[in-house]
């Protein structure tokens, strides 16, 4: 109880749980340098599911990968709960990463390990005891609905099941933040819905903050309350999903909204006449 009270007292820490400011990132290639992030400012509230949308190449993956420093930004700051991720030493970063889960479009499971060992891996490298690992793996597997697949290898799983393993692996260390890089983009609509439901359930039951990047507006409309639009390396709109959707100010925002509503309104789509 006191815990929740403390958190409520410090409103700023709740409203600005993740605070990204002035983030720049340039990729150096042989003949040119490509500025992928140009001064990103973004705040995410504790416990919310926040969506970032943008067209291919806008810099979404780069932005989210800066948060756990899979990518090193050139300058700026990324604070999570007041701690600047970019100032952490190597050792501190490894510890911090255990508190920032990540799931991927291509799942990135370890094919040499069965489902149990995939989920257990983050604990195995942290020196947690075998019995404790077993305890938590069984619990997490049940949470994501994989209890009957623990002995299977990723090679024999469907896309939806693979992503469940990915989610379990990301959650086993009880992180505060979950980064989703196109987590549902490789899945069919029904499986997408199941995975989004799972993420929403987890968000509700654990209060984990989820940052979701995608180019599927549906996914954001379904699960997020607030979102940002990324275009040409900059955040050009932030706000409630409903507002951006109904009254987009930016080109990308309106394009997404238009594509979405137009697709809904074309009756031919239903019987394939549009082909």
């Amino acid at each position: 109880m006191t815990n929740i009270k403390d958190k409520l007292l410090d409103r700023s820490n709740v409203d600005e749980y993740i605070k990204i400011s002035g983030l720049y990132k340039t990729f150096q290639t042989k003949d040119c340098s490509l500025q992928v992030l140009k001064g990103i400012d973004l705040t995410v509230r504790k416990g919310e599911i926040f969506g970032i949308i943008g067209f291919s190449g806008a810099g979404k993956s780069t932005l989210i990968r800066c948060i756990n420093r899979l990518e090193e930004p050139d300058s700026g700051s990324i604070k999570i709960g007041g701690v600047d991720i970019l100032k952490l030493s190597k050792k501190e970063l490894l510890e911090k990463r255990k508190k920032i889960g990540m799931i991927f479009q291509t799942f990135n499971l370890f094919e040499a390990k069965n489902v149990y060992r995939n989920i257990a891996y983050p604990l195995e490298i942290s020196g947690v005891s075998k019995s404790e690992i077993k305890n938590r793996v069984l619990k997490t597997a049940e949470l994501v609905g994989l209890s009957d697949k623990l002995k299977a290898y990723p090679g024999g799983l469907s896309g939806g099941q693979k992503q469940r393993v990915g989610i379990a692996r990301a959650l086993i260390t009880k992180p505060d933040v979950l980064l989703c890089d196109e987590a549902t983009s490789a899945l069919d609509p029904k499986t997408t819905l199941q995975i989004l439901d799972l993420l929403k359930d987890i968000n509700k039951s654990t209060g984990i903050t989820i940052l979701m990047i995608t180019h599927e507006l549906d996914a954001i409309r379904y699960s997020c309350e607030r979102m940002a639009v990324l275009e040409d390396a900059q955040i050009i709109e932030v706000g409630r999903v409903r507002d951006i959707f109904n009254n987009p100010l930016s080109r990308t925002g309106s394009l997404f909204a238009r594509v979405y509503t137009e697709f809904q309104q074309i009756p031919e789509l239903e019987n394939g006449a549009g082909i």
Partner: protein, 236 residues
């Protein structure tokens, strides 16, 4: 018995005579010994060098320009030497270590010097095959580089590492036969002494059977193991 005065078929029949196999038995043991020890040395140092090349690579886990450039250069140098030249070059080294420049142990040095760089390249090739995503997933849960190498990189690429090792061991077997020319003993030595110098082709035939059987067996074993692993992982 020689091809000069006997028919092919007679020599084949003669090559199964017990006295030939009695003569061959110690040579088989020598070849096995040379192959096993060289393979072990190659595995240890080849793996080490291959891992070093992979992680110090400019796009690797721990880019280190100088170490990468030096080991890359050194491996290329060693690999540019033909096996015969390597055997001759290693004679003084063997004398330094074992006090004599011929014999089974002396040749293991030359074989290792040839095969370690070769296997290192194979290991490098296998390790670079791993998808970037798996490494990132491992990083994202806070793995150290050490953990990534030994818990992800090596297990994930194991089938490919085994296939490379199989090819490398077969190269070692053929090199032990060559080393026979330089006093290493073994099956190669028998084939040269009896088949080439004394025209006892039945003996040479027998040694060919043994070498062929070795190579077939090892290739089969390598394929079998890597296939079993892939099957277990549901990848084939």
């Amino acid at each position: 018995m020689s091809l000069l005065d006997s028919s092919f078929w007679e020599i084949i029949k003669a090559s199964f005579a017990p006295d030939i196999w009695f003569r061959l038995a110690p040579a088989i043991l020598e070849t096995l010994y040379m192959t096993a020890l060289s393979s072990f040395i190659m595995l240890v140092f080849g793996l080490f060098l291959g891992i070093l090349l992979t992680i110090t690579n400019p796009v690797g886990l721990l880019p280190m320009k100088i170490i990468y450039a030096v080991s890359d250069w050194l491996i290329n140098c060693l690999r540019s030497l033909p096996q015969v030249i390597m055997i001759i070059l290693m004679i003084p080294v063997a004398r330094l270590i074992f006090g004599k420049s011929y014999g089974t142990n002396a040749c293991i040095i030359a074989i290792s010097a040839t095969c370690i760089p070769m296997y290192a390249r194979m290991v490098e090739g296998s390790l670079l095959e791993i998808s970037k995503g798996k490494i990132e997933a491992a990083k994202s849960v806070g793995s150290t580089n050490f953990q990534i190498i030994f818990r992800i990189l090596l297990p994930e690429t194991l089938p490919s590492l085994i296939r490379g090792f199989t090819v490398a061991v077969i190269t070692i077997i053929s090199m032990t036969a060559l080393a026979g020319l330089f006093g290493a003993g073994g099956i190669g030595d028998i084939a040269v002494r009896f088949g080439y110098q004394r025209f006892q082709h039945d003996v040479m035939f027998a040694s060919v059977y043994v070498l062929t059987a070795f190579v077939q067996l090892i290739q089969w074993l390598g394929n079998f193991i890597s296939k079993q692993i892939l099957k277990k992982r549901n990848l084939i």
